[in-house]
Amino acid sequence: MNTIPELIRTVPLQHYLVLSTCLFFIGMIGVLVRRNIIIVFMCIEIMLNAVNLLMVSVSAYRGEASGQIMVLFIMAVAAAEVSVGLAIIVMMYKNLKTTNIDLFNQLKG
């Protein structure tokens, strides 16, 4: 196990930052591009995970624990959000029988 922290010193922090930023925007593009509500929601999860990776890497490189605690809370929040979100989606599906977000457009103007 002692060899693993060596990696942190060989790969610059910047690379992790770029990786997680990249993931974040992939998630964002997914949110913008997809129309299936569940997949949109999954893309938001990718965005959250990107943030998690960002925070964990900084926390690990800087030896500062609060970032990882934050990640723990983000996961907790994500779990809560997912449960509520899926409940909403199921409720919506019961009424409208579709998962295309653009068909939920009765409220407008």
């Binding site: 930052l17 593009i29 990776l53 490189y61 800087r62 899926l86 409940a87």
Partner: protein
């Protein structure tokens, strides 16, 4: 060791892209699970073992099962999305990509603030995290319970069957 990082990164990005371009919802979900596993692997490389474990358990275990369950429950595995118009689609993709490019170029040109590693490389181990969590972050920990409580009531409320007719005024 460096190569391990680059291979993992490449795989992660590939999996994430596959999530957003596969047309079949089930396939998307499986790629998402794959992405989460890869991110967990990154956590292991970063010596954040506790979070790596939690990530597998919570995300890949609980959350994705929920997703999969919903997709199966709603019988959406046949529901293949058709892309109707390419204009909004490409606009979306281009604007997202532009944001990334802008961000990336700003990132390249700017110098990060340098911080010394003060706490060593063992921060991600469970004993360290536990200590910090219950010493400094006790309060958010407690508050989390309220969050879960809200989510729980919410799900119960939304999932409950309608026993009484909704009163007239609530129907817009």
């Amino acid at each position: 060791m460096q190569n391990l990082f680059y291979i993992l990164s490449g795989l992660t990005i590939f999996a994430a892209i596959m999530v957003i371009i596969s047309k079949h919802p089930i396939r998307s979900i499986l790629f998402l699970v794959f992405t989460f596993f890869l991110i967990s692997a990154h956590y292991v490389l970063l010596n954040a073992q506790f979070l790596a474990l939690v990530n597998v358990v919570v995300y890949a275990g609980a959350i994705m099962v929920l997703f999969l369950f919903v997709v199966m429950f709603l019988n959406l595995n046949q529901d293949i999305e058709r892309f109707k118009s390419w204009i909004p689609l490409s606009a979306a993709a281009i604007s997202g990509a532009c944001l990334f490019l802008v961000f990336f170029s700003a990132f390249r040109t700017s110098v990060l603030a340098s911080h010394e590693n003060t706490g060593g490389y063992q921060q991600g181990l469970v004993e360290n995290l536990g200590e910090v969590l219950y010493r400094d972050y006790l309060f958010p920990m407690e508050i989390c319970s309220i969050l879960f409580l809200v989510a729980m009531i919410g799900v119960v409320l939304l999932g409950r069957k309608e026993r009484v007719e909704p009163i007239k005024n609530l129907v817009p």
